[in-house]
Symmetry: C2
Subunit: 318 residues, 2 copies
């Protein structure tokens, strides 16, 4: 028994591409179009590769987490994160926090007021950056609007595969804290974040963080390696003992990894007719299981499919 | 470095209870009121115990998960689940599914079309029940409305500690699929759910399920024992091999557990002035960390605090 039944991919072509045949024999009752149908009928142009200069590989003992960076939305922070990754700053650090229904976070465990002399040197990276909680709307911040209302932002939509908010009156746009968002941890001082400590959202979207902290990207593959980490038992889900830390083997820019060792995946574009159809199919779920289509889809409930390059089937769909 | 800084409980009384003293010396600048302040100033009457007849203890090797049932919203299903629990039906079953950002689900692994003769007998429980996806609004469905707009329901709010939706025109109300919701799995036949297989939401609220499946309760303590289970690698996150199943020691009604072995916790009431203050504090987060209050709080983003009975401090707060 399943709360959601899989929709057979086999139905895809019959419902989408039934032009000629339909005139020859009586048409069967039309099957509603599901996301699986739409992905099966997508063209190569509906997908985009990841730019190796904007892709991080977070390597854990359990495998690789693939993160896409968002230079259009946090240019200074993305640049600093790239610099840190190129220097090997993150290699050997650890995930130090896992708070249920909220975040995992990594940092240099020695970057502490008590042991500043043990902290890893920043090298060419900056220790402090101006905030980029919002940026002006520009060509660097493309936006496919989601027509559905949102309580946290005047407008929401998708910016090159990342969920985003927008306030045209204030000429501001920002990435939102949906599941998988990569953020730049900071203390109470709004200037204190630099990218040395990063976090990923592992629970229900804490949208109240939007515009209060820098989102610098999004996990596109491997979330399940972060979301299942044992929760920390200290305040805010910090691990209480160093032996509980989850070691980070390395975080490298994909461009600095030999091509043969890169993860060959592509992401569905969010500015195409296929994308619009996908969103519509999620707004009103119609398949053999659903009884009452919602007539609404929330920003963080729209899945952004990823698949192996050259493969016909989507890697992520539910 | 932390994306959210803890607010000192120490500030609580100074901001809430500063009546008399304030006239004697110049008042210090007022600190904004946080959830921690509100909980610290709450009275015993703001909290309610769990009814042992409506409480399930799911026992795993890792410990106990405490679930509150919702007889007002799914009376037939809650009754059937109680019957199953009393018979020991769930004891020795397993969690058979863990799908990232979605659900964990348990079932009788032998309750399968291939091996119907091996399925555990239902005894006095029913194999099929009419759907209770929505129920008429009545005295059994109390509702404290949340004023914030919601895309999935005409009205949302809280029903005895559970997030709920409501459509007054249709005279319908239902529990919503927020993090921790307990649901009754079903196949494509709307009648097929009975409570033998149950699921818990472990990711961003899949609100499209609302009104399509029975919600029968909510996890009030121990979510971290479910949310960290390794994800299944089969379709829909089902485990592919029996050795991957997570054994369920037992699921018992708290009333059937000796009083000395019950979990002594209480839940913040959701129909008090203290609750209203808590919601307001979450709508506009004002503390030393937040720069821009959201001015909005989404239904599934309002935490419902739980604490040990007799203790002064909340057990859950973030």
């Amino acid at each position: 028994m399943k709360p959601i039944a899989a929709t057979a991919l086999a139905l895809a072509l019959s419902s989408l591409l039934s032009g000629a045949q339909a005139e020859e024999k009586p048409a069967p009752p039309k099957k509603p179009v599901t996301m699986a149908d739409i992905l099966a009928a997508s063209s190569a142009a509906d997908w985009r590769p990841l730019d190796p200069q904007n892709t991080l590989y977070l390597e854990l003992a359990s495998g690789r987490v693939v993160i896409e960076l968002s230079p259009g939305y946090a240019p200074l922070h993305v640049d600093n994160i790239r610099t840190l990754a190129k220097q090997g700053y993150y290699d050997g650090l650890a995930i130090v926090r896992s708070q249920d229904n909220y975040v995992v976070q990594w940092a240099d465990p020695n970057d502490d007021e008590k042991t500043p002399e043990k902290a890893k040197p920043l090298g060419g990276a900056k220790a402090q950056l101006p905030s980029e909680y919002t940026v002006p709307i520009s060509d660097a911040t493309p936006f496919t609007r989601l027509r559905d209302a949102d309580g946290y932002a005047p407008q929401v939509g998708f910016a090159q595969g990342m969920p985003a908010g927008r306030d045209p009156k204030a000429n501001q746009t920002w990435l939102t804290h949906c599941y998988g968002a990569l953020g730049v941890a900071r203390g109470n001082d709004p200037l204190s974040g630099s990218g040395t400590s990063l976090y990923v959202i592992i629970g229900h979207a804490p949208r109240q963080l939007d515009r209060n902290i820098n989102v610098a990207g999004r996990v596109v593959q491997g979330m399940e390696k972060l979301s299942i980490l044992p929760r920390g038992t200290g305040p805010l889900g910090f691990y209480e003992k160093p032996e509980q830390y989850v070691p980070i083997t390395s975080i490298k820019l994909a461009a600095d990894v030999p091509e043969s060792e890169r993860t060959r995946i592509e992401v569905l574009r969010t500015d195409t007719a296929t994308w619009d159809a996908l969103v519509a199919s999620r707004r009103n779920r119609k398949d053999d299981w659903y009884q009452v289509p919602a007539g609404h889809v929330e920003l963080c409930n729209v899945p952004i499919p990823v698949r192996p390059i050259d493969a016909a089937k989507p890697a992520i769909a539910k």
